[in-house]
Amino acid sequence: MFSQEILKGTIKPLIIKLINEEGKMYGYQITQKVKELSSQKIVITEGALYPALHKLVDEGILVTESEWIGNRERKYYLLSESGKQTAVVKLEEIKESILMLVQLFDLKPLVYDVK
């Protein structure tokens, strides 16, 4: 499992990416999706997920939508109109940062091997 410290800076872009792909998502669904995509290696804790989601709402990137599921209300998070444009910029930014880290840590052969 990866350390939360390493993941810290990537949580917001990761949430944006997932919501951009799925259209709308709720908190628990995001944690499960990340687990699934990372073959259980990345676990987003509730303590990292919800502050990030609420901050993204505060920044106007995400908006919420509520729906009744059985006997409880479920809050879905989706990209706002301006958030859709921000998403492209943020995702490009994180891709560039990751490529830079790959270079800095001299991971090119490893990336090549995986390919």
Binding site: G27, Y28, E46, Y50, D58, I69, R72, E73, K75
Partner: protein, 280 residues
């Protein structure tokens, strides 16, 4: 899918653990229910799933997440002792001013002038700071004070300054404060934040009104001149300040509202009793 009774059990768990922010409550509610349903779909009973989910996401952890999220959004409900104490300064200044002006103790004119104006000015300064910081909770008493004090001033006449009552001129200090604050932080975001905060916790209206409390108790003692006023002002100020301190320090909504109402009532009863005794 959990039934109504099972959902109520989860809700109770959140209430017991003092999760009170409406922003976070819905998220945790659904998250816990999903965890329980996931466990149940793997064959566990509701009781076992409930226990497993609660141990996976314990109450203290949720409270920590709630506090951190609110801090991140500049929507904190509880503050450090230092901040809570600093917020009581304008109240302390009111107490000091009251104790000096009504006790008959001689003080040089500039000290008297300072003591008279300092509490009022401190409230307007607090309002200005509150504006630039998008009105955190500790600035709310200044909102109530500045509005109510300006309304009060409308009915006051100041010889040498106005022929009759001040009327609309009474709003000039507030207007100047807002213009200066606007220069430092342009836009209406601070106003939006006030609305957002009140929507999240309506008890903040009461807290804003609490800002006028030291001025109100002072008015009760108008025209009363005795050395005992030092004692009365000190006790009343201490009671009122403890209300502010507890409101800002406490984690629990019930404690916050209760401490504010009790201290407000106590201060008024104490001062009122003192004035009755004096006039008799």
């Amino acid at each position: 899918m959990l039934n109504e009774l099972q959902v109520k059990q989860v809700k109770r768990y959140l209430r017991i653990n003092n999760i009170e922010s409406r922003l976070i409550l819905g998220d945790f509610m659904d998250h816990l229910c999903c965890m329980i349903e996931q466990n149940m779909s793997e064959g566990a009973s509701f009781e076992d799933s409930l226990r497993a989910s609660f141990s996976q996401l314990p109450g203290y952890e949720m409270k920590k997440i709630e506090k951190y999220t609110l801090k991140l959004l500049n929507m904190e409900t509880s503050f450090s002792s230092r901040t809570s104490l600093l917020a009581t300064i304008p109240f302390g200044l009111f107490g000091l001013s009251w104790a000096f002006s009504n006790s008959g103790i001689y003080a040089p004119k500039f000290i008297n002038l300072f003591l008279f104006w300092a509490p009022m000015i401190s409230m307007f300064v607090l309002l200005g700071i509150g504006w630039t910081k998008k009105f955190p909770r500790w600035s709310f008493p200044s909102i109530g004070f500045c509005l109510l004090f300006s309304m009060f001033l409308m009915m006051v006449s100041i010889p040498g300054l106005s022929d009759g009552v001040l009327g609309l001129w009474a709003w000039i200090p507030l207007l100047i404060t807002l213009v200066i604050s606007f220069i430092f932080k342009p836009g209406i975001e601070p106003i939006k934040k006030i609305v957002e905060r009140i929507k999240e916790d309506p008890s903040l209206i009461l807290f804003a009104l609490y800002g006028i409390a030291p001025f109100f108790v002072w008015i009760i003692c108008d025209e009363m001149y005795t050395i005992w006023m030092i004692f009365i002002a000190l006790i009343s100020t201490l009671i009122l300040s403890s209300g502010i301190y507890l409101f800002l320090k406490s984690d629990k909504k019930r404690t916050r509202v209760f401490s504010m109402i009790i201290s407000g009532l106590l201060a008024v009863i104490f001062t009122f009793t003192a004035s009755i005794i004096y006039w008799k």
